[in-house]
Symmetry: C2
Amino acid sequence: MRISTKGRYALRMLVDLAEHKNDGFIALKDIAKRQNISKKYLEQIVPVFNKSHILQTNRGFQGGYRLAVEPNKCTVGEVIRLTEGSLSPLACIDDENEVHCDRSADCATLYVWQGLKKVVTDYLDSVTLQDIIDKKHESYANDYVI
Amino acid sequence: MRISTKGRYALRMLVDLAEHKNDGFIALKDIAKRQNISKKYLEQIVPVFNKSHILQTNRGFQGGYRLAVEPNKCTVGEVIRLTEGSLSPLACIDDENEVHCDRSADCATLYVWQGLKKVVTDYLDSVTLQDIIDKKHESYANDYVI
DNA sequence: CTATACTCTACTATTATACTAGACTTTTAA
DNA sequence: TTAAAAGTCTAGTATAATAGTAGAGTATAG
């Protein structure tokens, strides 16, 4: 039940871009440095967000990436689905809730996993990039008060 | 974000034992046959439930396993924690919610994963073996009516 | 035209997963 | 008392996923 490094890096990259959304195009090397993530690895993660039009790209000198959506419109669920392929805890229930298993009719435990998928999906789809940024500043404020 | 085969098999085994809890000791080969799971693989899964006193064992002729707890006292969360080691979606937050990561103070996304762990844990700890059996019979009833 | 940055494909080391194999121990019934 | 049935324990192994690295190629601002 682990979220892969790929998914977590993707989220951190998008949060970073959301925080710098007014700074024009951000080079991957800057994100890599700030987040302490391999730039080469990020290069492999980025295409899926380009293709799904979550990121805009500028190539060449002073190029980079920029969020193409509002931070409060992009959910963690979306990010993890794109990097991880699915939020389903089993191969036998895919994203359309279709069942792919001979035993499914007889499978007593299937409903447990369908329920698990639902709580995971509901939660991750309820958190946006903006929420993460807000929470971060809230924490800083708390630190300051304390 | 997948539940491993090991965890799913364990749950099916325990549900099977719960359904046959009045039939004395059940041999692994019977469970393996009914559930269509490799008996040899089940042998590797079983020890953790013996050690945690969820199962009772009888060796030798006509030996087998029997639930040592009431089906309504054994949750899916317990089963998955025992087979999977943890319900945490990241290595950096373990079962005591302790944080193991240099970046944690600065990690904007940490709270997302802590929240994910909570919804997963709350859900899985809310479903018992008995719930699964009840649901199964409910489905059968529905099938019959339809 | 050159430095900078994105793009694309291929390769690789490590780890986890999902098993299989076989020797050994225990129990019971004939 | 012994053979068969069952659990126990350790080791091995094939496959796939993960988490990267490497390098050649393309686009663009200045």
